[in-house]
């Protein structure tokens, strides 16, 4: 709805900031575009994985003498990260209702699950017995999972900032664009992990 004052301002050709506040907030547009560029970044890394898999002759997998990939552990980690997407969304829904207490609770739980995922991934790395320099599988495995892990870490930093700001009472039902932006990013990181898990662990 345009008020009479705004309509007059338009007629006079004045700049009316209200015009830009319809639709998605600018910060969320920025986050969506950033995620689009991140999709292309992971697209490039996935391309290296599929290219290596297609051009490698012989068996595809960890080098001889190393442990097989621990699908059970990776499955648990997948469950943790997917669950964290749900807890994140509960936090977003809470702040949309203006429930700052629930926002803090769900954000803290999400952050905890994210940290748990990273710890689990590091434990997995420590058990595998091969490195980034051990053949092309090692290279693409650690690059894909490692860059995903780095993005989880980035998301955890974002969650920490959201939690700290929520503690200071900076969010309300009307004003919580940072929560929405971090949650978008967190969902994206989750989806990337599902792709990484399906590609490396399930398709093999």
């Amino acid at each position: 709805m345009t008020t009479h004052a705004e309509a007059t301002a338009r007629e006079e050709g004045k700049f009316t900031p209200q015009d830009h506040q319809s639709g998605m907030p600018t910060a969320l547009v920025g986050m969506l575009l950033f995620i689009a560029s991140e999709v292309m970044f992971f697209g490039g890394l996935f391309a290296t994985y599929f290219n290596a898999r297609a051009t490698t002759s012989g068996a595809w997998g960890p080098p001889e003498g190393a442990h097989e990939l621990d699908i059970a552990l990776a499955g648990v980690l997948t469950a943790i990260l997917v669950a964290s997407s749900f807890t994140m969304q509960f936090g977003v829904w809470a702040i949309r209702r203006g429930d700052t207490g629930k926002l803090k609770l769900w954000t803290a739980i999400t952050l905890g699950l994210g940290v748990l995922f990273l710890a689990g991934q590091l434990y997995d790395y420590s058990q595998l017995g091969f490195g980034v320099g051990d053949g092309v599988f090692g290279t693409v495995f650690y690059t894909l999972t490692g860059f995903h892990g780095a993005h989880v870490f980035g998301g955890a930093v974002g969650l920490t900032i959201v939690l700290a700001r929520a503690m200071r009472g900076q969010f309300s039902a009307r004003n919580h664009v940072a929560v929405e932006a971090v949650s978008m990013y967190w969902h994206f990181v989750d989806v990337v992990w599902i792709a990484v898990f399906s590609t490396i662990y399930l398709l093999g």
Partner: protein, 568 residues
């Protein structure tokens, strides 16, 4: 809470201009920083080009050894593309796009400053290889296995990777900023199909940057892992694939080619209508052609890889030839805009017309290269060097100078000197053709690119000498340009708000504009709001002087497209 009494100059406080420029988040100052920074890298990379051309003036090794020569052409290509042509056009975009949209600033001013400051940092990192045992020397395309740690020892290549990653990150952030600005910051009445063509080309360019550059980043990271952590992405001895680098590089690299040409096309499409005194012919066709080029750019990367034997030739050849269609549409847009126009050959117009003619030659050699039989013959010869300089230099750089002469009055309130500008143009134009036209013939007769020495074949020798003379002529042409800029700052002709009788909103504010850009905006009912403001036919003339002179027609419905022009 105590109430604050507003002083008359509340909100402004004095600080030294150094701090002001270092910490600015004003899109106009950041735009100027982009442009100045880009020109500094242009001069540095231009000096490297003179080294290359001096070495090649006559057969035999003159004063560069092979490794120094390799570093020179690698740094020349990398710096020219990543630190001159892309950022200088982004700089004009930064300055002009918010003004043309009637916006007060970019959507994310602080990210805007961040994306600028990555550029000098990245550029200096790339150059700093010279301080640590030699810069990268594999060519700007960095093909595997030349970049392997066995062939490219030393940190020059690592610095090249890190620097390019930073510059790429800057581009990605900048492109997100442009897209968000264009979708969220337009003034009331500025619908998408009323946006100036320059904004459209920046929108498509930014989309290409946002989606293509991350792929290069992925490739650069893979290369860094190969070189430093024992990875084997591109090492065939342990299962890697060197051709993968070419796929990744050109999947980014071909959209990149349009990233550097589309904004220049936008510049030309702003200048031609103004100095032909006609609206752009076929505005919507031009917009759709721009989008078409953007879409096709994703389907043609492997035409750089015909001779690898690893790609499906008919598909990539066909898709590449298809690009001639939207490009041809634009050619006719421009020609029909000038047709029967009241042409005014200002320096900006000369550079714009120079763009059209030179880009046409580059486009034709591009269609030739799209044909695999020709490409197999001239792959890695000077024909390719000629082609890419006709599109990069004859296209983009002519567009950059056109933009400089066109928008300088808006940025600094003074017009560049026209006679000196024309001296600049003709030296530049003749030097350019002397330098690069002979390369077509050199390539067809088989002279390979990226070599420091060549056989003392009489035909090659004379053509190389002509080319070197042309290169120095281009260098000389920069002198009247620099004198012009300095003299204009000291004692230039004041420009006024709208020296060219422009069509678009940047001319509706003062020169230079205030930090917040507009005191008031004219009504926007077409893609030429300022034309209708100053020449009637429009909604309501707002300036007092216009109200005195012009009959105000206010009865007509506001949304009718009014394109009729007394000159047509």
């Amino acid at each position: 809470m105590a109430t604050t009494t507003l002083e008359p100059r509340a909100g402004t406080f004095s600080r030294s201009w150094v701090i002001d420029w270092l910490t600015t988040v004003d899109h106009k100052k950041i735009g100027i920083l982009y442009i100045v920074n880009s020109f500094l890298f242009f001069f540095a990379a231009g000096i490297l080009a003179l080294f290359i051309r001096s070495e090649l003036a006559v057969p035999g090794l003159q004063f560069l050894d092979q490794d120094t020569y390799n570093q020179a052409f690698t740094m020349h290509g990398t710096i020219m593309i990543f630190l001159f042509v892309v950022p200088v056009l982004a700089g004009f975009g930064n300055y002009i796009v918010p003004l043309q949209l009637g916006a007060p600033d970019m959507a994310f001013p602080r990210i805007n400053a961040l994306s600028f400051w990555f550029l000098p940092l990245g550029g200096l990192l790339i150059f700093s290889g010279y301080l640590f045992g030699g810069a990268a020397a594999e060519g700007w395309t960095g093909y595997a296995p030349l970049t392997d740690d066995t062939y490219a020892q030393g940190v020059g290549t690592d610095l090249w990777i890190i620097g390019l990653t930073l510059v790429g990150t800057a581009s990605i952030l900048g492109s997100i900023n442009f897209i968000a600005t264009i979708f969220k910051m337009r003034a009331p009445g500025m619908t998408l199909f009323r946006m100036p063509i320059f904004v459209w080309t920046i929108l498509v360019t930014a989309t290409l940057i946002m989606l293509a550059t991350p792929v290069l980043t992925a490739g650069l990271i893979a290369l860094f892992i190969d070189r430093n952590y024992g990875g084997s992405f591109f090492d065939p001895s342990v299962g890697g694939n060197p051709v993968l680098w070419q796929h990744i590089f050109w999947f980014f690299g071909h959209p990149e080619v349009y990233i550097v040409i589309l904004p220049a096309m936008g510049v030309v499409s702003e200048i031609l209508p103004v100095f032909s005194r006609k609206p752009l012919f076929g505005y919507k066709a031009f917009v759709f052609a721009t989008i078409g080029i953007g879409l096709l750019s994703w389907t043609v990367w492997a035409h750089h890889m015909f001779t690898t034997g690893a790609v499906f030739l008919p598909f990539f050849s066909f898709m590449t030839a298809l690009i001639a269609i939207p490009t041809g549409i634009k050619m006719f847009n421009w020609l029909a805009t000038m047709w029967r126009g009241k042409l005014m050959f200002t320096t900006a117009m000369l550079f714009a017309v120079g763009f059209i003619s030179m880009f046409l030659i580059g486009g034709i050699s591009g269609v030739m290269l799209a044909s695999p039989p020709i490409d197999f013959h001239v792959q890695d010869t000077y024909f390719v060097v000629a082609h890419l300089h006709y599109v990069f230099f004859g296209g983009s750089v002519f567009g950059v100078f056109a933009a400089t002469y066109y928008w300088f009055p808006k940025m600094f309130g003074r017009k560049l000197n026209e006679p000196l500008g024309k001296v600049h143009f003709w030296l530049h134009f003749i030097g350019f053709n002397l330098a690069f036209f002979p390369m077509h013939q050199l390539g067809l007769s088989g002279m390979p690119r990226r070599i420091s020495d060549y056989a003392a074949n009489p035909e090659w020798t004379i053509l190389n000498l002509v080319s070197t003379v042309g290169a120095f002529m281009i260098a000389v042409s920069v002198i009247p340009f620099l004198i012009n800029v300095i003299a204009t700052f000291i004692n230039g002709e004041p420009a006024g708000d709208d020296p060219w009788e422009g069509n678009t909103l940047e001319w509706a504010t003062t020169s230079p504009p205030p930090p917040y850009n507009f005191d008031r905006l004219p009504p926007i009912h077409s893609e030429r709001p300022l034309f209708f403001l100053t020449h009637g036919h429009g909604h309501a003339a707002e300036r007092p002087e216009d109200l005195e002179e012009e009959q105000v027609h206010d009865e007509r419905p506001a949304d009718v497209e009014r394109r009729e022009d007394p000159l047509v």
